[in-house]
């Protein structure tokens, strides 16, 4: 059986008076890559922030590795990359990583290791302000790899990357998952689903489907995840234009494809 690394139950988040997540329940298996897919503004970043524990939550619970999200014991065990590259522009890549390594008390040897992992070792002494968008997000990713955290939450890490780098980065995610790291990777690019073990399809603040890429295509009788997503949305609006919340007896979490 697969262990559950992250679990949310009835999670609701309201931002600026607007509901962003409504009664969202899902579980994320450990040691796998789970892709969090959905259009911009559907609540992916908010869900990730809630799992990190930096998001104010209206109701519901989020459990990470058996502890409440954001609790002190988790701060060393969860690596987090925000959508905005959270590094200091007027420092070099190496200085940035060195600073965060000091904060985390990670060994100095890891500094070059993580820079190498994201393929920026040739630029280690370059100022972050001089990097391209793709290099910037990889510099931010390097910081998240410090201390080898068992859970990695990556918010759109491949935006702005050329296809070669994208494949390389997903290759690295795969190696990390093979070593036992749990990865939750958000993206609004549907074809990134091919590299994931599991998918959470999100729309309007709720999970539309949770399945493996193959399972999703089989159950919707489609060839690609993008088509499956469209199929689910159409099925949903034909079935229920008012978009009422899910019935309480409905199974939640994995292996659920709703409103077919």
């Amino acid at each position: 059986m697969v262990n559950i690394a992250i679990q949310t139950d009835g999670l609701s988040v309201v931002r600026g008076g607007r509901p962003v997540l409504t009664d969202l329940s899902c579980s994320i298996a450990s040691g796998q890559i789970t892709g969090l897919l959905g259009p911009s503004g559907c609540g992916k970043s908010t869900l990730i922030r809630a799992i990190v524990g930096v998001q104010k939550v209206a109701s519901g619970t989020v459990t990470v590795l058996g502890a409440p999200a954001g609790s002190a014991g988790l701060r060393r065990r969860v690596g987090y990359v925000t959508q905005a590259p959270s590094v200091y522009p007027n420092l070099s890549i190496a200085d940035n990583v060195r600073f965060f390594a000091r904060v985390l008390d990670a060994p100095r040897s890891e500094i070059d290791e993580v820079i190498e992992q994201v393929g920026l070792i040739d630029h280690r002494n370059a100022l972050v302000s001089a990097l391209s968008g793709g290099q910037l997000s990889r510099a931010s990713l390097a910081v998240a790899l410090l201390g080898n955290p068992p859970v990695l939450l990556l918010d759109e890490p491949t935006v702005g990357l050329d296809p070669v780098l994208r494949v390389e980065l997903w290759g690295m995610f795969r190696r990390l998952a093979d070593e036992g790291t749990t990865l939750l990777v958000s993206s609004h690019v549907m074809d990134e689903a091919q590299w994931c073990d599991r998918l959470l399809l999100m729309r309007d603040g709720d999970i539309l489907a949770s399945d493996s890429p193959e399972g999703l295509c089989t159950s919707t009788q489609t060839d690609t995840v993008g088509d499956a997503f469209l199929h689910l949305i159409r099925g949903q609006s034909a079935d229920d234009p008012a978009r009422t919340p899910p019935e309480p007896d409905e199974p939640i979490g994995r292996h659920r494809v709703r409103h077919l």
Binding site: G16, V54, R76, T82, Q83, Y88, F99, R102, L104
Partner: protein, 245 residues
Amino acid sequence: MNPRITLAIALRVLAQLRHDRRTVALLLIVPCLLMALLWWIYIDSPQVFDRVGGPLLVVFPFVIMFLITSVTTLAERTSGTLERLLAMPMNKVDFLLGYALAFAVVAIVQSALTSGLALWLLDLSVAGSVLSLMVIAVLNSILGTALGLLVSAFAQTDFQAVQFMPAFVVPQILLCGLIAPRDTLPGALSAISDLLPLSYSVDAINEVTANPAWSSDLSFNAAIVAAFTLGSLILGAATLRRRTG
């Protein structure tokens, strides 16, 4: 609280400054130039320069540290680096002390330059010791840092942060005794002046310029400035939230 993290943050802030030579030059040279300008304005009446020169030694570091801190911490709040740090095992106090420590180092260099210039080149008459002058100047720059950290919580953009300077700092400069002695202010203004931290800074520096020894009045004023600093740091810590909307 964790000294390792506090030091890491202080070193990082200083490393950022090292890459920004223009800011460092502005930080260190502009106060000296302004002091020299003031000396020139009052070249024919040195007693006026003696009266306002002392207070300016605390007003400059206060204003500059206030500005630089509010803008840098705002950048930290908006860029996501603060969120990342708060998701790490970092205490909010480490963050604030790290900033205070880094800017205290800058303040010491700045005060040494401005005081040295005023004392030895521009002949500002100071009865007290150079050391007590420096202590008060550095204490004030840390006050500026603490207030800057606090107000950065109420600004959403750099423009707003800069506008807090006329809103929070200029009234303090007008009422601190630099323009008119505090006991000559109208009753209500004098009462307001008693509530503002910079008033006690200027009282302290006036003690230093007037008395050769460290007086009890000086201890009292310095303690009030320190209390305001500590209070702002505590309030500033309260504005750093791990969980935000």
